[in-house]
């Protein structure tokens, strides 16, 4: 489904952050990416999404065989990619619900489907907000405007639920969530996940993985995946830290 081959990317001053990433994600799989601060996890998701701060030096990223790196940012999303960044951006003045509707309709137009009508959209958003136990305040406010850290993360999962992407890359969605919110958000991810979809979770802690069970765990360090394993790897890392890997 998502295939990343030897991906190298650098920032404006020429410093290379991603130094050859390889990752194969198949339909129905949940992957977790862990790794020390500054190792390049967030950079990886932004490069895949097409953030203008990064320059791709080499390698490829394909989704269902289509070259994502050649696409505009919105085309990547409309082709089924969903990236939740570590720090969701606040957009005062753009209403959250109108934004969601615009995003969904953009996807529909891209896929040559008719735009969603108001009643159908209302039903959809009511259902997803109920799933994520979100209160009414989310409707009237600007996108992420004045939201707490946890509220922003929950709003990201609402967007994921509405857009129903094939592959989701969620960067530290668990950070800032209280105990109940973590359970609700994880429930939401599991609900959206299915045999024809895939999820990549970037996280520092095991607790999210207790709810959303990964099939594979990868360790990213200094811009490369240095170790991959099963779910037990996350537990081992929690216990022993990252230096243990290099010592062995």
């Amino acid at each position: 489904m998502l295939s990343i081959k030897d991906l190298k990317a650098s920032i404006e001053d020429g410093t290379q952050i991603l130094k050859g990433i390889n990752l194969e994600v198949k339909a129905g799989e949940v992957h977790a990416i862990m790794g020390p601060n500054g190792s390049g996890k967030s950079t990886l998701s932004k490069v895949i999404a097409g953030h203008p701060a990064y320059h791709v030096d080499g390698g490829s990223v394909t989704l269902d065989g289509k070259d994502l790196l050649q696409m505009e940012i919105n085309e990547r999303a409309n082709s089924g990619l969903f990236i939740s960044t570590q720090y969701p951006t606040e957009i005062p003045g753009v209403n959250n619900v109108e934004f969601l509707k615009m995003a969904l309709n953009s996807k529909r137009v891209f896929l040559e489907q008719p735009e969603i009508d108001d009643a159908e959209f209302k039903k959809l958003i009511d259902e997803k907000m109920a799933l994520l136990e979100m209160d009414e305040r989310y409707r009237d406010r600007g996108v992420n405007e004045g939201y707490s850290g946890g509220e922003k993360k929950r709003n990201e999962i609402l967007q994921m639920a509405i857009l129903d992407p094939k592959v989701s890359l969620l960067d530290e969605t668990d950070s800032g969530l209280d105990i109940d919110a973590l359970r609700i958000v994880a429930g939401g991810i599991n609900h959206i996940m299915g045999p024809d979809k895939a999820v990549i979770l970037v996280t520092h802690y095991q607790r999210l993985l207790d709810y959303v069970k990964p099939d594979f765990v990868h360790v990213l360090r200094h811009g490369k995946i240095i170790l991959s394993g099963g779910p037990e790897l996350a537990l081992e890392l929690e216990e022993k830290g990252y230096d243990w890997i290099e010592e062995n």
Partner: protein, 327 residues
């Protein structure tokens, strides 16, 4: 001294006149005045050319009185090339006044509004429709506010031509408050100029100036805002903020804040930002599938809308927001 005599005395606006620093003064045609000045009011204190012009051209004065305690919503139509409107708003009155633009093409339009706002009165003066077909438009406001009065002055400038709004406000009574909001959405060769002077002449008076510019093409905006706080005026609050987004390489903005403060116990601020659309916000919207062009439109509209958000809900606010939505 009548307006014609005074005009001749001060002469045509020039760049070196500080009231006209940023204005393309060469575009002002030399006036050809009527024989005699009908209005014999003494204008010897008036310094702004644009404030005198309609009077010197014998604009027929239109007077409107709003009684004490009355509540009124009205449209003020500007049907002449030169207009003079006198508004007296009574004590405790509430008024919402929309100024509609001239629909008849004229080479030059100059309007003057003299507005007296009685004690504790509240008035919203606003205009938002595009003034196309007028290559040059002057609009001058002289607002005198008594104690406890509140004036909201909101405008949206768009459409072609050169426009200049000048405003002299006199906050005469304790607790008077003036809020000016100005949105300029300009393209091609449009240019909009503001020359605002707010005189705080009593304690505890407050003024807010908030301008936002969205400039495309070769458009140009300028904002010259002065605040004067008198010597006996304690606990005065004033703020001035101009935010500009340049949507093209060739658009430009000039801002000149002037503060003259003769009292220590006051809070006066001014700020000025100029930039492009926020790239992180643009990334966020496009990363959710929204085409870049649409995303940019959403962001510019949001920027414009924020200006009027703090206003209380009212038909005026609704009208302003509708105009922003249609941009």
């Amino acid at each position: 001294m009548d307006a014609q005599t005074r005009l001749k005395q001060i002469g045509m606006p020039r760049r070196n006149n500080e009231l006209w620093t940023f204005f393309p003064v060469a575009k002002i045609p030399t006036p050809a005045f009527p024989e005699a000045c009908a209005d014999t009011t003494d204008y010897s204190d008036e310094t702004d050319f644009a404030a005198l012009l309609p009077i010197a051209y014998n604009a027929r004065p239109m007077q409107r009185d709003i009684a004490d305690n009355a509540s009124e919503m009205a449209m003020l139509k500007c049907n002449n090339d030169f207009g003079h409107t006198v508004l007296n708003i009574g004590k405790n009155a509430k008024a919402s006044l929309e100024i509609l633009d001239n629909k008849v093409a004229h080479e030059i339009c100059a309007e003057r509004f003299d507005i007296h706002v009685g004690e504790n009165a509240q008035v919203h003066i606003f205009f938002a429709n595009p003034a196309d077909g007028v290559p040059l438009r002057f609009r001058h406001f002289r607002i005198v506010q008594e104690a406890g009065s509140k004036v909201f002055f909101s405008e949206i400038e768009r459409g072609s031509g050169i426009k200049r709004t000048s405003l002299d406000a006199f906050l005469k009574g304790c607790g008077a408050r003036l809020e000016i909001r100005s949105l300029n959405v300009l393209d091609s060769d449009d240019s909009v100029h503001h020359r605002i002077t707010i005189r705080h002449e009593a304690p505890e008076t407050e003024s807010v100036q908030f301008a936002r510019n969205l400039l495309n093409g070769k458009s140009n905006a300028s904002y010259d805002g002065s605040v004067v706080v008198g010597a006996d005026c304690s606990k005065v609050f004033s703020s001035q903020l101009v935010n500009t987004i340049l949507l093209s390489e060739d658009s430009s903005v000039s801002v000149k804040p002037v503060l003259k403060i003769y009292h220590d116990d006051v809070e006066c601020t001014h700020g000025n930002t100029c930039g492009e659309l926020d790239s992180e916000q643009l990334f966020y919207l496009t990363s959710r599938g929204i085409p870049e062009k649409t995303a940019k439109e959403m962001l510019t509209r949001a920027f414009a809308k924020e200006l009027f958000m703090p206003l209380e809900d009212s038909p005026a606010k609704k009208r302003l927001e509708q105009v922003v939505d249609s941009l």
